[in-house]
């Protein structure tokens, strides 16, 4: 199985697949050398996930740090039947990033800093040259969504955009975005089942 992103960068693919699974198994036995190797092979990938959600670099670095501490603590829970090692690790990192960006706070961090333009770089999994089995199946289902509705799902996933931010971006009321999300997610769920 090959795991590879849509951008240049060989590390995640070079040691991916079974290699990462082996490293995770060793990390579960508290093997510090395996942890260091795992970090070197996956940190740019995981940082690519969290840094697009948390646009402040210091916050993104803190979250990445917490994510790896959690990966160290929970490596024994990884179940290869449920997905790739990278997908499991990315879920932990992304979840932490979302907790951070959706924390109740007096000053909203949802206001993007000046100069940040989400449109500057779109991630298109449909264009990824090499895909794992899981991504191939998901991409096939994403293709069945309307282009605009697919974009809503992908911006929420990759940028951590809230319903409000999505509504602003697509010029639709928040309830419409919510309806779109629910329909798209239901469609994805049913498509992945088949």
């Amino acid at each position: 199985m090959t795991i590879r992103g849509g951008a240049p960068g060989e590390r995640a693919s070079a040691g991916a697949g079974d290699g990462l699974g082996d490293l995770l198994r060793r990390v579960a036995t508290r093997d510090a050398a395996a942890f260091s190797a795992l970090y070197k092979q996956t940190s740019a990938k995981l940082y690519g996930v969290v840094a697009r959600i948390l646009t402040r670099g210091d916050v993104a670095a803190d979250v990445l740090q917490e994510a790896y501490v959690r990966i160290w603590e929970k490596a024994g829970d990884f179940d290869p039947v449920k997905g790739s090692p990278l997908a499991w690790m990315a879920t932990i990192a992304r979840n932490r990033a979302l907790d951070e960006v959706r924390r109740v706070r007096p000053v909203s961090l949802e206001d993007q800093p000046e100069g940040f333009e989400p449109a500057a770089e779109e991630i298109d999994p449909l264009a990824a040259r090499e895909r794992s089995e899981g991504l191939t199946a998901l991409v096939d289902c994403l293709k069945a969504l309307d282009e605009e509705k697919r974009a809503v799902v992908l911006l929420a996933y990759y940028r951590g955009l809230s319903r409000e931010a999505l509504a602003k971006r697509f010029g639709r009321p928040v309830p419409t975005i919510k309806t779109w999300l629910h329909r798209s997610l239901a469609q994805l769920r049913d498509c992945l089942k088949s």
């Binding site: 740019a44 995981l46 697009r52 924390r103 951590g160 997610l185 769920r189």
Partner: protein, 236 residues
């Protein structure tokens, strides 16, 4: 699967990240006590996780790995190595071992208690609470001496976000609105509880919120607590 369609959508949006902060906090708490909901969230994580593969890599800061390695060795760079803190770290670890049975308070956050060995012999009616978000997050230790009507707060590894302050609140139905117990600094600090009935002090909920520097401008918490817990008695 007995989950309702609404809950499955909530699980999907939780994973996608589009729930608003209070919905997200509510779902995070519910999944700890509702196995079906937890399962639905895990299923959505499995469905959407392959997308992460397509995110282009970004090189993280270089000094991050040593900082992480220091943390997993148990030497938190944020925590000074004083004997008291080391003892507390030990007790926090012990608490974490017991955290599987973590309970929920206020429908929002997980809390846990630690039975710490009493370090001071002359500490009758002493209480302690470890306030934290979840078992893996940094903690704030609150110690209360009912006889002296004193409260001591010690941030263990928790640090307020840059430009923000942590403010501690005592919450009890008999008090009406939450009452501020002051800001939490980098060093242990004490506060007087003489204004409060000891029975309320012992039974109250203690919560920490993120506030502008100097504390909440309104005198009331600005948002949902980031740390919360209750006291348990320790010592003789």
């Amino acid at each position: 699967m007995t989950i309702t369609p609404d809950d499955d959508f909530a699980a999907a949006e939780y994973v996608l990240g589009t729930l608003d902060p209070s919905e997200r906090a509510t779902l995070a708490a519910r999944r700890l006590r509702e196995p079906e909901l937890d399962e639905a969230i895990s299923a959505w994580e499995e469905r959407l996780a392959p997308l992460a593969e397509a995110a282009p890599e970004i090189e993280p800061p270089r000094d991050l790995l040593p900082a992480i390695e220091a943390r997993i060795r148990g030497a938190s760079p944020e925590a000074p190595g004083s004997a008291a803190v080391v003892a507390l770290e030990r007790s926090v670890r012990r608490w974490r071992a017991a955290a599987i049975a973590a309970s929920i308070i206020a429908g929002v956050l997980a809390i846990g208690f630690v039975a710490r060995e009493a370090t001071r012999q002359s500490a009758p009616r002493e209480y302690v609470a470890i306030l934290q978000k979840d078992a893996a997050s940094p903690a704030i230790e609150v110690t209360v001496n009912l006889d002296k009507q004193e409260l001591t707060v010690r941030p263990v590894a928790a640090q307020a976000p840059p430009g923000k302050s942590y403010e501690l609140w005592i919450i009890d139905a008999k008090l009406g609105a939450p009452r501020s117990l002051g800001l939490i600094g980098d060093t242990p600090r004490g506060a007087s509880l003489s204004a409060y009935d000891p029975a309320i002090v012992a039974g109250a909920t203690y919560a920490v919120t993120v506030e502008p520097p100097g504390g909440s401008p309104t005198g009331q918490p600005s948002g949902t607590p980031v740390f919360v817990g209750k006291l348990i008695p320790v010592g003789p």
